[in-house]
């Protein structure tokens, strides 16, 4: 239990929670905006138009091949130097995570849409539904069910990847932890693991409810 007293120091928990709020804010905004972007991108990917498909292919491959860290540096330092577009660190993170989340989610949407058997479309048309009705009433509800597990996985990945924001100077939960560890390194040399333990627990608390909600939805829908 040596070093655990560091957690009882005044200010340690409030500051970690403040840092956690920054993490949750970046992740929340990114995931929130990624959903509409991903739906549109996914739909575009299923189109027959070769130009649109090629563009989407390039977009997805570019985002997928580049490490997130490289994208972050490009958005933060590169944009400022080349286009004089000086994003602040939080803005650069949100932009990159939306582009990343949009691309990955788009690919999931594409897969889900394409996995719906053709007979579902044909039956809808036979029943007299318009293309939009077919899409929104028949195809989308089925696709969303197939989409859910993988998208929750993507959301938790985005939450965890926000830790890269440290490298742009965003003071989120990990950085706050490092600051606390360093400020106490002489009084509590073994406090490191305790702080990281708390941070681990905080990430868990953020990601776990996502899994629970996903499981509940899956269960409910399986009875539909």
């Amino acid at each position: 239990m040596q070093g655990a007293e560091i957690l009882l120091q005044p200010g340690v928990f409030p500051r970690l929670l403040q840092g956690l709020w920054v993490t949750v804010w970046i992740a929340g905004v990114s995931v929130g905006v990624s959903i509409p972007v991903g739906l549109v991108v996914g739909w575009l990917m299923t189109l027959k138009n070769p130009v649109v498909r090629a563009l989407m292919r390039i977009y997805l491959d570019f985002i997928r091949i580049m490490p997130q860290l490289a994208l972050l540096f490009l958005a933060y330092y590169g944009f400022a130097r080349w286009f004089d577009w000086n994003l602040d660190a939080t803005g650069a993170c949100v932009l990159v995570f939306i582009l990343w989340g949009g691309a990955e989610l788009g690919d999931l949407v594409r897969g889900a849409l394409q996995s719906i058997p053709k007979v579902q479309y044909e039956s809808s048309y036979v029943l007299g539904l318009s293309p939009w009705q077919t899409f929104s009433r028949v195809i989308l509800p089925q696709a969303v069910r197939r989409l859910l597990p993988a998208s929750v996985n993507l959301a938790t990945r985005i939450v965890k990847t926000t830790s890269l924001a440290v490298l742009l100077g965003v003071v989120e939960v990990i950085k706050v932890g490092q600051q606390i560890i360093d400020a106490n390194r002489f009084q509590y040399p073994s406090g490191t693991l305790w702080i990281y333990g708390v941070i681990f627990f905080m990430y868990f608390i953020v990601c776990w409810p996502l899994s629970i909600v996903a499981r509940q939805l899956e269960k409910r829908w399986s009875h539909d």
């Binding site: 575009l44 138009n49 080349w82 939080t90």
Partner: protein
């Protein structure tokens, strides 16, 4: 197949919509209500040429100077229990801002990011224990130094090493990739070097008695010796002396001149010695001669 024609047009509209969406998202990025307190102030500040540094007037007009400091390298730049920036660099930063009549907006940097935050104009000034090197001089402009760093050697009090000659034939612990490694390899081939990847491992080796002494930056060993009883820094100044100085974007002469004038002015009131007493002495103890670390007036 009537749908096909419709989708082509739709797809073009949708592609356009996606682009607009992406652009609008990006545009609101910097000014969005972010939780970090450094975020909101500078959305309108970017001027014409690519990431060009702000002039002294622009800084004064905006009311804040943006300074990059360490936030986890006590006692130079760190954040205290109340979440406030503290340390030797921060005291200097506060003083510069006070004399300029503006507030400081701190940006937390990692060592590797110190050049980039200047070249991409994220900050006006870097005050983060920035050692002056020829390579860095090509990318940023350094002002006059306000600190210096050399090698130090820490050893057990019972067998204190006070002179390099005592190390002859003995085992010296060093961390890989440090200036200590190259210095001893080049100048003292008779000293057996025991190399470790991490500072923590190197310190443990010294505690276990696997080596006779440990050498790295004097500031680092001084702080460690203070916290570990039975060990003493017998040599506080060894090898090539490196200086630590404020840095501005290449060509930002206005700000550079201001900082240089400040350093000269502060030298008259012995500002950096006071800064030392306030921030470094509690960590290094009173056995260290401040003149081994502090530089006044930019003069070595």
């Amino acid at each position: 197949m009537t749908i096909k024609v419709g989708t082509t047009i739709k797809s073009i509209i949708a592609a356009g919509a996606a682009l607009i969406m992406a652009a609008s998202v990006a545009a609101c990025g910097p000014s969005a209500a972010t939780p970090s307190d450094t975020a909101s102030s500078d959305s309108g500040s970017s001027s014409s040429a690519n990431a060009k540094a702000r002039s002294l007037d622009e800084i004064k007009k905006s009311g804040t100077i943006k300074i990059a400091v360490f936030s986890d390298k006590a006692p130079f730049g760190y954040v205290d229990q109340d979440g406030k920036y503290q340390g030797y660099d921060v005291v200097f930063a506060e003083r510069l801002a006070k004399d300029l009549g503006v507030k400081v907006e701190y940006t937390s940097v990692d060592p590797a990011a110190r050049v980039d935050v200047l070249t991409s104009n994220k900050v006006d000034l870097v005050l983060a224990n920035f050692t002056v090197t020829d390579e860095r001089k090509e990318k940023v402009d350094f002002a006059k130094p306000y600190m210096k760093v050399a090698l130090g050697v820490v050893s057990p009090e019972s067998a204190e090493i006070t002179d390099v000659s005592q190390l002859d034939g003995k085992t010296l612990i060093i961390a890989k990739g440090t200036t200590a490694e190259t210095y001893f390899e080049e100048n003292y081939p008779n000293v057996t070097l025991q190399k470790y990847d991490q500072y923590a491992d190197a310190y443990n080796a010294l505690l276990d008695g696997r080596g006779d002494a440990f050498s790295t930056d004097n500031t680092e060993v001084l702080a460690w010796a203070k916290a570990n009883k039975g060990f003493k820094v017998g040599i506080t100044k060894l090898g090539d002396e490196d200086t630590i100085a404020p840095a501005v974007q290449k060509g930002n002469k206005e700000l550079l001149d201001f900082v240089n004038e400040e350093i000269a002015k502060l030298g008259e009131e012995n500002f950096f010695h006071k800064d030392y007493e306030q921030t470094l002495e509690p960590v290094y103890g009173d056995e260290v001669n401040p003149d081994d670390i502090v530089v006044e007036n930019g003069e070595l």
